[in-house]
Subunit: 271 residues, 2 copies
């Protein structure tokens, strides 16, 4: 049986995955090449994470960048240098095989997408698992805030720089009623490791978000008067910042193909 | 005028400090050598921090240790390598002069206490500011939880190790009524950068805390039946872990002589 939440586009699941009830089973299916589709809205209740793999020489400065920008870059785990096992959030997992798809960058340019990066993992590789707002979609639904279109938008809010890492904060935008925005603010406050509370409510222009040119999602001409846009810092921020720094070698999850941890969203409240 | 909260032991303030209304003024008085006393319960409302200064070679592993143990080691700021200015939490401040007293350790041994460390700061020095539970004493008082004796206790809870950094979680213990413990849990949840919510309520034996041999505070033979002990992770944890690792060279604040940031406790809610 395929365990799913509401799947908006089942066509993105390339293969049926049987008997998957836990995050560990999902990761094993990905490792075997049996799960090659998206993780978006799969395994509801499990904390999902974005992946960034960097050489150790860049790792301290990148971790300082994350520390300075906890809403954009909530760090769930940093692996030991050279060790592909995230032993606190997913003991036994292997970051080289247990995601459905990876993106490989050299000097800030995408060079390939792969389903296995064992041959690219180096003795100095460090994996960063960064919280994803996907994690709170399911709790929001249960609290009466239905899932809706999500936009990803650039802003003019500068992230706090650290060394060569700098750039604007990227946000996700969701629309909801003002009453739902209150619930969403209360609820996501409990998920600091998944971007936490909103960074902005209301007028996109106040944070320099250009709705006619989103990074993801359809262009918006006019916000309906009955909704309030709610903006969360987005895990795309550290990825774009690392790309802009033209790091010699970087691997990330491919967009929509995240890492599923053993952590339970409802329990994972920091600190 | 000296701005103080309730000072339990005014004798620890060696010199009267006039005209101090802000954190910046306090730091300047410390820099000039006019403020040489404790910071405990001074400048209520300002976020206070513990200081750890390490060589850059140890900084990444120590920051990973902090990331893995956010309740014991909530990082308020990491300075750029070699830069003594914590430019986000106290722009213009100088970590080499703006604390009243420092402790200098070599290979895990205390070698001296100083009021100025300019001559010891190195091009590879990195300053870590780590949240302190002192910050929430004042908000607790305003919420109806009176200040009381604080004990510092070792436990048998292992911190999550990172490389050479490992050891048990150290906690602070406060006694209060059960109703106050509920308020304290609610309120400190809002201060994740200052150890956040309690790690334990009730029986000290369940976390291996030995009340007859506290690290700080009077030995306790028997807990009065009308109170509930409440335990928070303590910033002494990272300091003891770094000492146990016998780091070649480390500087910390001297106990009770912390760093006063410009951050306001009531506003500083992460993330």
């Amino acid at each position: 049986m395929l365990i799913v939440g509401t799947v908006s586009n089942p066509a993105t699941i390339e293969q049926p995955v049987n008997q998957i009830h836990t995050a560990a089973e999902a990761r094993l299916a990905m490792r075997r090449g049996e799960w090659t589709g998206t993780t978006t809205h799969q395994l509801p209740g499990c904390v999902q994470a974005n992946l960034v793999v960097l050489p150790a020489a860049e790792a301290f400065e990148f971790l300082v960048f994350c520390q300075r920008n906890p809403r954009s870059c909530p760090v769930i785990e940093v692996t030991d240098v050279g060790d592909p096992e995230p032993r606190f959030s997913a003991p036994g997992a292997d970051l080289r095989t247990d995601l459905p798809r990876y993106a490989v960058y050299r000097r800030g340019e995408l060079v390939e997408e792969l389903t296995d990066i064992r041959h690219l993992w180096r003795p100095d590789s460090v994996g960063f698992l960064i919280g994803s707002s996907l994690t709170f979609d399911h709790p929001l639904e249960r609290a009466g805030v239905p899932r809706s279109q999500v936009w990803v938008l650039n802003t003019t809010i500068p992230a706090k720089p650290a060394g060569r890492f700098s750039g604007p904060v990227v946000v996700t935008m969701r629309w909801m009623t003002p009453a739902q925005a209150v619930i969403a603010t209360q609820l996501t406050t409990r998920f600091p490791a998944n971007h936490g509370a909103p960074v902005h409510l209301g007028d996109p222009a106040l944070i320099g978000a250009d709705l006619e040119h989103p990074l993801y999602g359809p262009p918006v001409k006019r916000i309906p008067p009955e909704v309030l846009p709610v903006f969360w810092a987005c895990g795309v921020t550290p990825q774009r910042v690392a790309l802009a720094a033209k790091i010699e070698f970087m691997i990330t999850h491919a967009s929509g193909y995240g890492f599923v941890t053993d952590l339970k969203a409802d329990e994972f409240c920091l600190p």
